[in-house]
């Protein structure tokens, strides 16, 4: 092969001899041909100002992150991840402004964590955040479960899934308890079709919608190992940890404040005790339990006020906004729990 002359068009196909591209074409020609690729920005000086301030202000990124910090208690890891995503999207926008093209980043996410740890709340906010950052065009959230995606009979699944995907385009598709979609033990389950369509859209229409899958950690892990290729298409796996008592207290106070209630000093102490007890009892659902508890306390307060008004006492504004110690201590949680061993019957709501 040594003294063979370089040919104009090298033979192709499986039988073609292997040669360096440089040997065939000559190094000069290669440089000439690919000089555009080598430096697409040679007309822009390296120290050119890219106008970062304007983009930063336009995106309201500071505002968004601030409100996230204010409205969500704890979840430091989640916030940090959202901050990273926000930064990436902003830098991406700056890069595009001076002509540096890059692929649209994958923003599909999976939220894992125990019940009531804020997965849905964060997903709801995510739509707005991505909209403000200019990643999605509308920013609405479409929530779907297995029922909305998987059909009942042959040929039913694809149109159903497609409807949901179409509705979510321009925004965020939130699939709650995503592991229900696919049942590995039943090979005739129609969920497989849904998964295939999801995978396809997640890959090909990244700029049209963001998919967020949520569920309990163990189940989700099994789901991802059952469906090869899904986990790798999700760029952000975010785990939502359980809250501590202090964090639950903060959540309770924030919730009470947003509903225009106040806790009497005694009541706050009672609430701490309540939460400590409740956490050890079964079916504890973090933030959701706190919300349910607050609803119960409001009912207890309403009955207390109603009775005292019946006895002829005048009610003041202070009465209406304050939750007292006794409203909380009435709870069955203080009597050793809602699901104590002697009561085998199920009761609807633990509070």
């Amino acid at each position: 092969m040594g003294d063979r002359k370089p040919v104009e068009s090298p033979p192709l196909g499986p039988g073609a001899p292997e040669r360096d591209t440089a040997e065939v074409y000559g190094t000069h020609e290669i440089e000439e041909r690919f000089k555009d690729l080598a430096d697409p920005l040679r007309d822009i000086p390296d120290d050119a100002d890219v106008g970062a301030e304007g983009v930063f202000e336009d995106s309201h990124i500071g505002e968004v992150l601030e409100s996230l910090d204010r409205d969500l208690i704890a979840l430091a890891e989640v916030k940090a991840r959202i901050g990273e995503i926000a930064a990436l999207l902003m830098i991406d926008r700056l890069r595009r402004r001076i002509g540096l093209e890059a692929d649209v980043p994958t923003l599909h996410m999976s939220f894992t964590g125990n019940p009531g740890t804020g997965k849905t709340t964060v997903a709801m906010k995510m739509g707005q955040i991505l909209y403000k950052l200019g990643y999605v065009r509308k920013g609405h959230l479409v929530t779907a479960t297995r029922d909305d995606l998987v059909g009942q009979y042959v040929g039913h699944t694809a149109p159903k899934t497609r409807e949901v995907l179409k509705r979510a385009m321009g925004g965020v598709l939130f699939i709650d308890e995503a592991y229900h979609i696919y049942r590995v033990d039943n090979e005739r389950d129609y969920g497989q079709e849904t998964v295939e369509m999801l995978l396809q859209v997640m890959e090909n229409q990244r700029e049209d919608l963001v998919v967020i899958m949520a569920g309990y950690k163990g189940h989700m892990d099994r789901f991802f190992s059952d469906v090869p290729g899904l986990s790798s298409r999700i760029a952000h796996h975010i785990d939502f940890p359980d809250y501590s008592v202090d964090q639950l207290m903060d959540i309770a106070l924030l919730m009470a404040e947003s509903q225009r209630y106040r806790l009497a000093p005694d009541a706050e102490k009672a609430l701490v005790e309540y939460l400590e007890l409740r956490m050890t009892q079964p079916r504890f659902a973090n933030g959701r339990s706190v919300r349910n508890a607050l609803d119960r306390f409001r009912m207890h307060q309403a009955i207390r006020l109603y009775k005292s008004a019946e006895r002829g006492r005048k009610l003041t504004k202070k009465d209406l906004v304050t939750i007292e110690d006794e409203d909380i201590r009435q709870s069955r949680v203080f009597e050793g729990g809602v699901y104590s061993l002697d009561s085998s019957e199920e009761r609807p709501d633990p509070s």
């Binding site: 179409k166 509705r167 385009m169 321009g170 925004g171 229409q205 919608l209």
Partner: protein
């Protein structure tokens, strides 16, 4: 073979073919006005043929034009050599009509129309247009390569 006739109808009949980005922008305009997006197709190019076949259900609940374009592309894939149009329907009471309608796909070759002259009584001539494509049965028109 002659060049045939490029059939035009609808809102942008005087314009060259819309690009995908332009189609997307028009659909978005319709969605922002609260209009429903419907996609229809046919292989009968006669101008009086108003009832085209529907491609799926009209889309009342989409937020973004990407969903409309998604269906346009699916329809193009299934019926590449038929006419496809997008209709934006205004369902407001007292309007209830198509607000915007434009062709987004056409067969690669459009043979055009034959002019029939029918001699009737008293030297009266009646004129009729017949699409050459309609000589073939429904579903086998435009090269029949469905």
């Amino acid at each position: 073979m002659t060049t045939g006739v490029r059939i035009t109808q609808g809102t942008f009949s005087y314009l060259p073919e819309l690009t995908d980005d332009e189609i997307r922008a028009q659909i978005q305009y319709g969605i922002d006005n609260g209009w429903a997006v419907a996609i229809e197709f046919t292989d009968d190019p006669h101008p009086r043929n108003v009832y085209w076949e529907m491609w799926g259900m009209p889309m009342f609940d989409i937020e973004d034009a990407a969903a409309g374009l998604f269906e346009v592309n699916r329809c193009r894939k299934a019926h590449s050599n038929r006419y496809i149009r997008v209709s934006l329907y205004n369902a407001t009471l007292t309007k209830q009509t198509i607000a915007l309608q434009f062709i987004v796909n056409r067969p690669p070759h459009e043979p055009g129309f034959r002019l029939h002259r029918q001699e009737t009584t008293d030297r009266i001539v009646r004129y009729t247009l017949e699409p050459y494509a309609a000589r073939d049965p429904h579903g086998e028109r435009y090269d029949g390569s469905e």
